[in-house]
Amino acid sequence: MANVIRRQTPLARLGRMALYATLILAALFYLLPLVVMLLTSIKPLEEIRAGSLLALPLAPTLEPWAKAWGEACTGMRCEGIGGYFWNSFAIVIPAVLISTLIGALNGYALTQWRFKGSELLFALMLFGCFIPFQVVLLPMAQTLGWLGLASSRAGLILVHVVFGIAFTTLFFRNFYVAVPRELVAAAKLDGAGFFRIFWRILLPVSAPILVVSVIWQFTQIWNDFLFGVAFSGHDTQPVTVALNNLVNTSTGVKEYNVDMAAAMIAALPTLVVYVLAGKYFVRGLTAGSVKG
């Protein structure tokens, strides 16, 4: 804390060191599971059986990763989780884009085109953030059946979009509420309509909240297991479900290294997204007004 003026007594320095030591220890402790996973995933099976959990690999190998990707058995099939990994992308990308776009339009309409009851509508939409997934499983299954979308990728996308709208609307509404209404008034006078104002005036200043919405939705949908296991078919399972099947397959030897590699593969995309866009995430959450 360079901006705190304080005399550097030996005692104060000692206290500070103790503080940092505690923080570093806590950080290491939280990193431990990841380290164990990573180490285990590159050890041959014999080493896992013989050595300790934290021992460094003597003969590191990428074979478990290759096996997890292309050969490991998930239930009856032995094709690895690679295919399911792409399945997840095929579900997540459209679901994220659609829910973010709808959330942005909702937030825009709720703040800049207020109507009677718009605040009430927003309050009701917020309830969507608190609905437990389990509650909607049966009605959703029924609905997907009616729509002819049961066990399909489109059905799963629909479920995630519907669930995501509450959150994305919340994000965009709170962002756009800080946009001066005169901006939209000026555009109306200039002759622009609802969508044109959104596209040309508001969307270009929405980068911070777009990042927030995309990261949030991506993580939520990628990590979803319940909807994936309930509403997907054999070929449309997301990677989380495949991972579960892989780990629970009981034939043959228990290959911990392959399990860990598969878990790492399944977790990688969300990790990458955070590393690449994490700072924008924090910036977006704290971004308030749009200064002209």
Partner: protein, 372 residues
């Protein structure tokens, strides 16, 4: 045919009546200022003209066409906002051209229009910048440029100078006046700054509580206010209002008796009798005197030509450079008098002054409406 006509426009929010049957008409090329304290309905009226808020009842016509239920875009108006409302993601050039683009003007004409207004407002060197890279005064110019490029029937200015610092505000005020004289545009301009109103307007509408109290030229508003509110609102320092008792009658002439604690009563002859005065004899009235209606007693001039004599102990003298503002006890409070910079006023000492009653005004003590 009026450029803009407002007929009995009412606007209510729930049970609150924000506009109460407002009517006015503006000729083409006229500069009208809506002035009043916050909450008087001037901005609501502006938004109603712009079409940003629907009216509850009444009619709005622009260039003879009924636009009461038209969208803002269909009304052929342009507006300059207090916050400028420049599109943050666009350059100055794109900001100015946006309205033209929406109106499907071909690219060539659009570019020419941008160059023309940029030239007019001396912002040509700023065209490629984003609004965030501009100073307050420059943003103000761009906002005006955006309005001017469209060449609409009516321009609306919503407190356009409020966000500028004092010096810039005076400069821009002059510039707006010059632009208006040069282009002959029809302007409706909202402000709460009475100096802006006096200096810019062809006509001023003073509003309070959703009503237009008085609509007239700046001179009429300043010299002939219809009631106490208008009198006090316009002018700085504001008009002195002194409690007095009306005496006399139509035949002998009326007099105003002003009781000042610790002084002899001051009795002033009222020079302009009206019929309304007859029924107010013996009652409380308010004498309205602007600071410049006081003058230093000048022994070289003819007694009669100088107005009514009055002397008081000066409590404070505030030299402004161009003149001196004096605070003097008169009636139940103190009054402000504006005298020349060489006036030998010393705080605590008596000073002989004259009151120009020819230009004074008189209000009813109860209703506060103008009597004479």
């Amino acid at each position: 045919m009026s450029a803009l006509e407002i007929n009995e426009v009412r606007k209510t929010f729930g049970n609150t009546e924000v506009l109460k049957e407002v009517s006015l008409a503006i000729e083409s090329g006229e500069f009208l200022i809506l002035v009043g304290p916050s909450g008087c309905g001037k901005s609501t009226l502006m938004n109603a003209i712009a079409g940003l808020e629907p009216v509850t009842s009444g009619e709005i016509r622009i260039a003879g066409r009924d636009v009461t239920w038209c969208t803002p875009a269909e009304r052929d108006i342009a507006m300059v906002f207090q916050s400028y409302a420049l599109y943050p993601s666009m350059t100055v050039r794109q900001n100015i051209a946006f309205g033209l683009e929406m109106r499907k003007m071909p690219r060539g004409e659009r570019e020419a229009a941008v160059e023309r207004v940029a030239d007019l407002l001396q912002i040509s060197h700023l065209l490629e910048r984003k609004p965030s890279q501009l100073s307050g005064g420059q943003r103000q110019r761009v906002a005006m440029g955006r309005a001017l490029a469209r060449e609409p029937q009516v321009y609306l200015f919503d407190e356009p100078l409020s966000n500028l610092d004092a010096k810039l505000r005076v400069d821009m005020r002059t510039e707006i006046k010059k632009l208006h004289q040069r282009l002959g545009t029809t302007i409706v301009y909202v402000t709460h700054d009475q100096i802006e109103a006096m200096t810019l307007a062809d006509r001023i509408a003073v509003m309070r509580d959703g009503e237009i109290l008085q609509l007239g030229t700046p001179e009429a508003i300043y010299n002939d206010p219809v009631n106490r509110f208008v009198a006090e609102f316009m002018g700085s320092p504001s008009m002195n209002l002194i409690e007095a008792t009306l005496e006399g009658d139509a035949g002998q002439g009326y007099r105003l008796r002003i009781a000042t604690p610790g002084e002899d009563d001051l009795c002033l002859p009222w020079p302009r009798p009206t019929e309304a005065l007859a029924s107010r004899v013996g009652q409380r009235v308010l004498l309205g005197l602007r600071p410049e209606h006081f003058a230093e007693h000048d022994a070289r001039l003819d007694e009669a030509a100088q107005g009514a004599p009055f002397s008081a102990r000066v409590s404070v003298a505030e030299p402004t450079g161009a003149d001196i503002l004096l605070r003097l006890p008169l009636g139940t409070g103190e009054v402000t008098a504006r005298v020349g910079p060489r006036c030998p006023a010393v705080p605590g000492e008596r000073l002989a002054l004259r009151i120009d009653l020819e230009r004074a005004v008189l209000f009813d003590g109860e209703s506060e409406q103008r009597l004479a």
